[in-house]
């Protein structure tokens, strides 16, 4: 952004009160307002930072459950035949793993948690545009999650359809699909309202001196994501309602015997669910775009192309859904069109990767945890992205369709991509939220363990898929055993990395060294406020934006990280 005049901002030298080295964080927005109970002040809060944290804690709790289910699946698959559970339990466990991870963890993860905590600070706003609506969407999220839990223990048993709820099976299975799809319907509304709130906030509440080309790229990513949330999520709502109608009223919409079309279900489902993977990944890309310049001490390479590629992904990514359906019996014309379009979406993603790497080139690099997680993101996301092209090519897809290759691809992109983006965000904004730092060395060790564990866990899945091991199967032929064993051992290493990371962050928020407003020496607005920020953010005075979001001239890193 060379065209922006780079004036010198005096960094607000906020004297940090000496905080005790133990106990929960205090000061700023953590302080309970006088006359209210602590619990009440959280459950009825309209402060975007507190709502974001409510989301974050719930998301991390569900993530722990999802990881546990994933470990059980891997343990079952360590050897052919029955290991720890029966077939029907296995079907329910992988469905539950998918539904929890997709709808309760990954989709809300970065936008609802860090979008809420950070975005209004980044644009110099007092809060989001509709603070009460924001709290309402959190309650919708909790209600949807509660109903999903209810679906496990009521009716004809836990759903066993996989997270995609494909007909005709989902229309005929005796398990409790009705309640599960209602849960998904409600979770969808939570996502729509968050998206709407963010669009209005970014349009209306930016500091007057923050033009569109001075917005941090994390906010740009959230903006593109918010449009997908608002425009695509209603299709999910319609789709799951149609399943409900099909089951309860027997409409025959997807039943060919009565003039219905089962492939129509797949169209409807993927019209949402492909754009949904961009709801998952684009905010993570925004985090990476914000982190890398700070730790390379260098302006981002190609600010505008990164910002525009987010919008391009959001637009083009909405037109590729049928690449999930190449072997479904869809017409060959559609196969060709959607295969071509899928290749086009790879371009904006590759533009971003190129720009991140170019930003690192000749930077003065500090290998702090947020950067390590971001580098992990680039590596793992590229591994998943390249194999995505194998699946997007109509010819090659026929060979690996519905095999472990797909499972490997998806987990590289979503765990290695969105997951690592979330971890990078947690490590980057941790000192801002808690006013303390975690142990940097241990965080780096955990990141390296995670990269090793993930590769061991998911790379064998590529090989299994190429050799023809179908996904979702409970049992397998003996020749697949070795690779399954490697994958399961990888899942233990991954779990160990996650545990180490979580313990280190937990210890950091209780006993970490206090830090000032801007430990990493970043240039975006949230770092001009004290850590933790006050409830009213910038107060009545609009902050003046005098520098670009990645202009580090005259900004020093604090001693606490030096």
């Amino acid at each position: 952004m060379a065209e922006i005049p780079m004036a010198e901002t005096p960094m607000a030298e906020t004297p940090m009160a000496e905080t005790p080295m133990t106990g929960t964080p205090d000061g700023g927005f953590w302080t309970t307002p006088p006359g209210r109970s602590t619990l009440g002040s959280w459950l009825l809060t309209t402060d975007h930072k507190r709502i974001g944290l409510l989301y974050l804690w719930c998301i991390l709790a569900f993530f722990a459950v999802g990881v546990l289910l994933g470990l059980l699946i891997r343990l079952e698959l360590i050897a052919p035949g029955r290991t720890i559970m029966a077939q029907q339990t296995y079907n329910a466990v992988f469905t539950l793993h998918g539904v929890i991870m997709i709808f309760m963890v990954v989709i809300p993860s970065i936008p609802a948690a860090f979008g809420n905590i950070v975005m209004p600070l980044q644009i110099g706003a007092e809060d989001v545009a509709f603070p009460r609506l924001n709290l309402f969407s959190w309650y919708l999220y909790i209600l949807g999650a509660a109903i999903a839990v209810v679906s496990l223990f009521t009716g004809g048993g836990a759903p066993d359809t996989g997270w995609t709820f494909y007909v005709p099976f989902s229309a005929t299975t005796s398990t409790n699909v009705n309640v599960a799809v209602l849960a998904v319907f409600i979770l969808g509304f939570s996502s729509i309202l968050t998206g709407l709130n963010f669009i209005v906030t970014i349009h209306r509440l930016r500091a007057p001196s923050m033009g569109w080309t001075r917005m941090p790229l994390f906010t740009w990513g959230l903006y593109a994501t918010a449009w997908i949330q608002v425009l695509a999520t209603p299709v999910l709502g319609i789709t799951v309602l149609l399943i409900f109608a099909e089951r309860v009223l027997g409409l025959g919409l997807f039943d060919p015997a009565r003039g219905g079309d089962p492939i129509l279900y797949q169209h409807l489902f993927w019209i949402y669910s492909h754009p949904a993977v961009y709801i998952m990944i684009v905010p993570a890309m925004g985090v990476i775009s914000d982190v890398i310049p700070v730790f390379a001490r260098k302006n981002i390479f190609g600010y505008k192309t990164i910002a525009i590629s987010s919008l391009a992904i959001a637009f083009a990514g909405s037109l590729v859904w049928a690449h999930h359906m190449f072997v479904s019996g869809m017409s060959d014309v559609a196969v060709m069109v959607f295969s071509l379009l899928t290749f086009i979406v790879a371009i904006p993603s590759a533009v971003k990767v190129f720009n991140w790497v170019s930003t690192l080139y000749k930077g003065s690099i500090y290998l702090d945890p947020p950067l390590i997680y971001s580098l992990g993101f680039i590596f793992l996301f590229s591994m998943g992205g390249v194999t995505g092209l194998v699946l997007g090519g109509a010819g090659t897809d026929v060979h690996v369709h519905d095999t472990y290759f797909v499972v490997g691809h998806f987990h590289y992109v979503i765990f290695g991509g969105t997951g690592f983006g979330l971890f990078a965000a947690m490590h980057f904004w941790f000192p801002k939220v808690y006013g303390r730092l975690y142990n940097l060395k241990i965080a780096n060790v955990a990141a390296v363990i995670l990269v090793i564990g993930l590769n061991m866990l998911y790379f064998p899945m590529y090989l299994l898929g190429l050799e023809g091991m179908p996904r979702r199967y409970y049992d397998y032929l003996p020749q697949y055993t070795d690779l399954h064993v490697v994958s399961t051992v990888g899942s233990w290493i991954t779990a160990a990395g996650l545990a180490l990371m979580a313990w280190n962050l937990w210890r950091g928020l209780r006993h970490g060294a206090p830090c000032g407003p801007n430990p990493w020496g970043a240039a975006t607005l949230e770092w001009t406020l004290p850590s933790p920020p006050p409830t009213e953010n910038f107060g009545p005075v609009e902050p003046e934006v005098t520098r670009g979001p990645y202009d580090f001239k005259g900004i020093e890193r604090e001693e606490v990280v030096a």
Binding site: L231, D261, I271, S318, L319, A322, M330, V333, A334, V337
Partner: protein
């Protein structure tokens, strides 16, 4: 948000009954055109009539006519996106 505050009157009964009449006529057209064998054009005709009806409902019954251009633009955008989704689905259904 409330265009009425700027002095718009609620639409008259005559207008509303006229729109209702038009919707009835269009429904009859849908039924009639479905009887005529036009091949693929049957779908096009049904979609076109349905679009006209949706337009009448949103403009008059839902008062979109009196709203400002931000609202009109948003509704138009959503319809365009819906049209794209349905149109792209025809890459499949029209060539099976």
């Amino acid at each position: 948000m409330h265009a009425h505050e700027e002095g718009h009157h609620p639409p008259s009964y005559r207008l509303l009954i006229g729109v209702w009449g038009a919707l009835m006529v269009l429904t009859a057209v849908t039924v009639w055109v479905a009887q005529v064998p036009l091949g693929f054009l049957n779908v096009v005709a049904a979609m076109a009539v349905a679009t006209c009806k949706a337009l009448l409902v949103t403009l008059f019954f839902m008062h979109l006519k009196d709203e400002n251009w931000t609202f009109k633009g948003m509704v138009l955008l959503v319809f365009v996106i819906l049209a794209i989704f349905i149109g792209f689905t025809f890459f499949d259904t029209a060539y099976r």
